[in-house]
């Protein structure tokens, strides 16, 4: 009933509110500074050595490194499309047996962190692995192609990343307006011309969007390529940080990797812009193509990505677990890393979810450039590889904040920069669904701005907070490079435990930690992805 209060009290109230909001804006500014820190630090350092940067990147070693990274990206993107395009079409638009279930379980490979997928695939495909040993029973197999390097990296990363393309394509095929094809035919186009002029342009944005996600994943990946000994930007940065005395070239390679990220993001923005008029939102009238007897031939083929990407790797883990128990492998050592993982992931998830509040209030207040910048900065972690985030934090701490170096603070900060967008997305979307009239109603009932934000915005968007918090928790559980680089000395998590053992080829030792990680992080990741897919399919 503020209208009935004397003027002086109202003025006091307003002043109090301004202080409250001012605090929120300053917090947002500080948080944004930390978010942009890796990028700022890179640019700051590089401006002093700009000429050296160009000399550095135009030498054979760095060009080879760039070529390695680019060829890996191109090959993984190509294979992801080749796997997901027919798979999505068959599952969504044909009468393939069990397609209802297959649509969802086809994204199961996403449940495996890249380093777990890599270790298990090495066991299957490398020399003296399952496949080699199988063939040795029948043939003389002295020479066997190496799984390490580019072939293994492409194989492993394609299996992990195809679900990113598959989800978009499934939703697109579900919503594709088939009248477009009929219209093109009745306007005089042959089936081939229709495919070229109508189907391809309408499918293209979805394929590109998925491909760009895959590209960013491959560019950021550290776990798989390090175990498969394939030299990319992330590996070069890590090795130069830890295996060379001078850290020579770390900043330059990082900047080069960031440039690659920005190229990918520019293409994404351009594609989104080109596709802004596409609205294939027709969910009704889904006529499935009858495959006839062919469906029984195609069905087992459609299971191949699932078999190679989930069933076989999990079988390997179970096999190792049985062997490990038999050989008394010391699985008890896993308890401490498990507790560490749960502890640091919970702390980070709670922290990141809470700091979303001031950032989102600032974005929602729509203060022209300020809110716009905060919004953009919040998503920076989405495109920066974890290795680069960690590297810049290490350098920054050594030079300016030595006392927080190798503490939990810097580790949580690393997670914050990398995973803030994951929390921000669901919270923001639940906030936008709140009717602005509720805020007005709260104000007219005399509630202060802070109270209104808490009672209306925060409380009503709590499902988004929970969803965002759980998502960050899962991502922290699996995260390897940030944990590896920023953890305090002696602090082992499941991810670092698996990676350390696998790097020294103690694969069996990784079994229990991997299975725990798949159960507590992988399966929930799958459930999230599968729910997202269901929503997009209108199920």
């Amino acid at each position: 009933m503020s209208v009935l209060l004397p003027n002086s009290i109202i003025l006091k109230k307003i002043r109090k509110l301004d202080i409250g909001l001012g605090f929120i804006y300053i917090s947002s500014l500080i948080l944004s500074f930390f978010l942009i820190l890796p990028l700022l630090y890179l640019l700051f350092k590089i401006t002093f050595e700009f000429n050296l940067f160009f000399d550095f990147i135009f030498n054979t070693t760095i060009l080879k490194l760039s070529l390695n990274t680019v060829s890996l990206i191109i090959l993984v993107v190509t294979f992801s499309i080749l796997i997901s395009l027919p798979l999505a079409f068959l599952n969504v638009r044909t009468n393939l047996p069990f397609s209802k279930y297959l649509t969802s379980i086809s994204v199961l490979p996403i449940a495996l962190p890249s380093y777990v997928m890599a270790t298990t695939q090495i066991e299957i495909w490398s020399k003296n692995g399952w496949v080699h040993n199988f063939f040795k029973m029948f043939f003389d197999m002295n020479s066997f192609p190496s799984f390490y390097g580019l072939p293994g990296s492409v194989f492993v990363l394609s299996l992990i990343t195809y679900p990113y393309v598959y989800i978009g394509l499934s939703a697109m095929f579900r919503r594709f307006d088939y009248q477009m094809i009929d219209a093109s035919r009745t306007l005089g186009d042959s089936p081939f011309a229709t495919a070229r002029k109508v189907v391809f342009p309408l499918v293209k944005p979805t394929v590109i969007a998925g491909s760009l996600l895959v590209s960013l994943y491959v560019l950021s990946d550290f776990g798989a390529v390090s175990l498969l000994r394939y030299n990319t930007f992330t590996i070069a940065i890590f090795n130069r940080m830890y295996n060379s005395i001078s850290n020579y070239g770390v900043l330059e390679i990082s900047l080069l990797a960031v440039l690659f990220c920005f190229i990918i993001l520019t293409i994404e923005t351009k594609t989104k812009n080109e596709a802004r008029h596409f609205s294939n939102s027709n969910l009704s009238d889904l006529k499935k193509i009858d495959l006839g007897a062919w469906k029984w031939v195609i069905f087992p083929i459609s299971l191949i990505p699932l078999i190679f990407g989930f069933i076989l790797p999990v079988s390997v883990l179970i096999y190792w677990l049985i062997i490990g128990f038999g050989e008394n492998m010391g699985f008890i050592d896993v308890i401490q890393p498990t507790l560490n993982t749960l502890f640091i992931s919970s702390v980070s998830a709670v922290f990141i979810t809470i700091v979303c509040i001031p950032l989102l209030i600032t974005i929602r207040k729509n203060i022209k450039i300020f809110s716009f910048l905060i919004d953009k900065v919040s998503y920076i972690g989405l495109s920066l590889p974890g290795v680069i985030v960690s590297m810049s934090l290490v350098f920054f701490c050594i030079n300016y904040f030595d006392y927080i170096y190798q503490t939990f603070i810097v580790l949580v900060l690393g997670y914050f920069i990398s995973f803030l967008p994951a929390a921000l997305g669901p919270i923001k979307s639940s906030m936008t669904q709140i009717d602005p009239k509720l805020e007005d109603a709260s104000f007219t009932l005399g509630a202060s701005k802070i109270k209104t934000y808490y009672n209306v915005i925060v409380k009503l968007s709590s499902p988004g907070f929970i969803y965002g918090g759980v998502l960050v928790f899962i991502l922290c559980l699996k995260e390897l490079p940030v944990t590896l680089i920023l953890s305090p000395i002696g602090f082992q998590t499941l991810a670092t435990e698996i990676w350390s053992s696998a790097s020294e080829a103690f694969f069996v030792k990784t079994a229990l930690a991997s299975i725990i990680l798949v159960v507590i992080a992988g399966i929930p990741s799958y459930i999230f992805m599968s729910n997202d897919l269901s929503k997009r399919l209108g199920n």
Partner: protein, 353 residues
């Protein structure tokens, strides 16, 4: 500006469908023994309820589906038969889809020019169509930036610039609100008459079909069961299903001798003679009946205000039979009130079941 000049147009039907059968994957016939003929410059509609086979008819005519029996001819040339099929892209049929099927990745100009050869098309005719449909200001826009009415005009322009021999429309007004629908219907009729198009409209909306068409076909269970002028189909439907669907008519059972039909509400006169006593169904329009206060063997179940009149649904208390009665707005009868029924016009026509 004329879309076509065919000297033989008076002799050969523009579209001729004879004894056509169609089924999906050999299952039950969706269209059976269907025949239809559209003359040059004629506007013909096919009305049908859901599941009658409208969309299938649309897809067989424009060549998107192959037929099992019978044939389809366009300007005398065979298009479809059990042994022969000209694909959709080779038929000169302009098609307007229910949702317009405009390409979202192309702007309006590219949509309209989609089917035109870039170098070799009648620019004068193209410009005439653009000007006639008043879409010149929309050419740079994308489809998501257009209103429902604008989309419809673009879809029409896209079909017409190809100078099709036949314009085939599938429920083209169903996505428009009522006011816009009436306005656009009038505009469309004017434009199509001006161009001299031959049109086949497929719709579930009888009002739309009756107001636009020279002839109307009624599609029921995959078959055209009546094909006549709008007046005939409205005033003297052949079948009880048409009577009920088109004019809210009452289908009443009665006993006929000579021209007199005795029913449970009174006597009617037929326009044909029966030498022997027979049992038949007759068509009695709602405006042939009126309500009265004096008798009370009926009760008013529902009433609906229409333009200038009101439609009452009354139920006979003993048998539960319901009748539609149309009266002027000035009559004040209430739901639940007991009333009697008077016959104010005795002429009726016999219906097939």
């Amino acid at each position: 500006m004329k879309i076509q000049d065919n000297e033989n147009s008076a002799l050969i039907p523009k579209l001729e469908i004879v004894n056509m059968h169609f089924s999906y994957n050999g299952a039950r016939d969706v269209l059976s023994n269907l025949s239809l003929s559209v003359q040059d410059k004629q506007f013909v509609s096919v009305i049908g309820d859901s599941g009658a086979g409208k969309t299938t008819l649309f897809r067989t005519i424009n060549g998107l589906e192959k037929i099992n029996q019978g044939y389809i001819r366009l300007d005398g040339f065979l298009q479809s038969a059990s042994f022969f099929h000209i694909p959709a892209e080779k038929r000169s049929i302009g098609t307007i889809f229910q949702d317009y099927a405009l390409f979202p990745h192309l702007n309006v100009e590219k949509n309209i020019k989609y089917a035109l050869q870039s170098s070799n098309f009648d620019k004068k005719f193209y410009e005439d169509i653009i000007s006639l449909l008043e879409v010149g200001d929309l050419l740079d826009r994308y489809i998501d930036e257009l209103s429902g009415g604008q989309k419809q005009r673009i879809a029409l322009a896209r079909s017409l610039v190809r100078k099709p021999k036949l314009l085939l429309m599938d429920e083209p007004f169903s996505n428009l609100d009522r006011n816009l629908r009436v306005q656009i219907r009038r505009e469309l009729k004017k434009i199509l008459t001006e161009i001299g198009s031959t049109v086949l409209l497929i719709t579930h909306d009888s009002e739309e079909a009756l107001s636009l068409s020279d002839k109307v076909g009624f599609l029921y269970a995959g078959e055209i069961i009546q094909f006549s002028t709008p007046q005939q189909i409205y005033n003297a439907p052949d079948h009880s299903v048409i009577a009920r669907s088109i004019s809210n008519s009452n289908v009443i059972f009665g006993e006929v001798y000579e021209k007199n039909v005795s029913t449970f509400i009174g006597k009617f006169l037929l326009n044909e003679n029966f030498d022997e006593t027979s049992k038949i169904y007759i068509n009695v329009k709602p405006n042939q009946l009126s309500l009265s206060f004096d008798e009370s063997n009926f009760v008013i179940k529902d009433k609906e205000f229409l333009e200038g009149s009101q439609l009452f649904v009354v139920k006979e208390i003993d048998s539960g039979i319901e009748l539609n009665v149309k009266m002027s707005n000035s009559e004040e009868f209430q739901i639940g009130q007991n009333v009697g029924i008077n016959i104010i016009k005795k002429e009726a026509n016999k219906l097939l079941e």
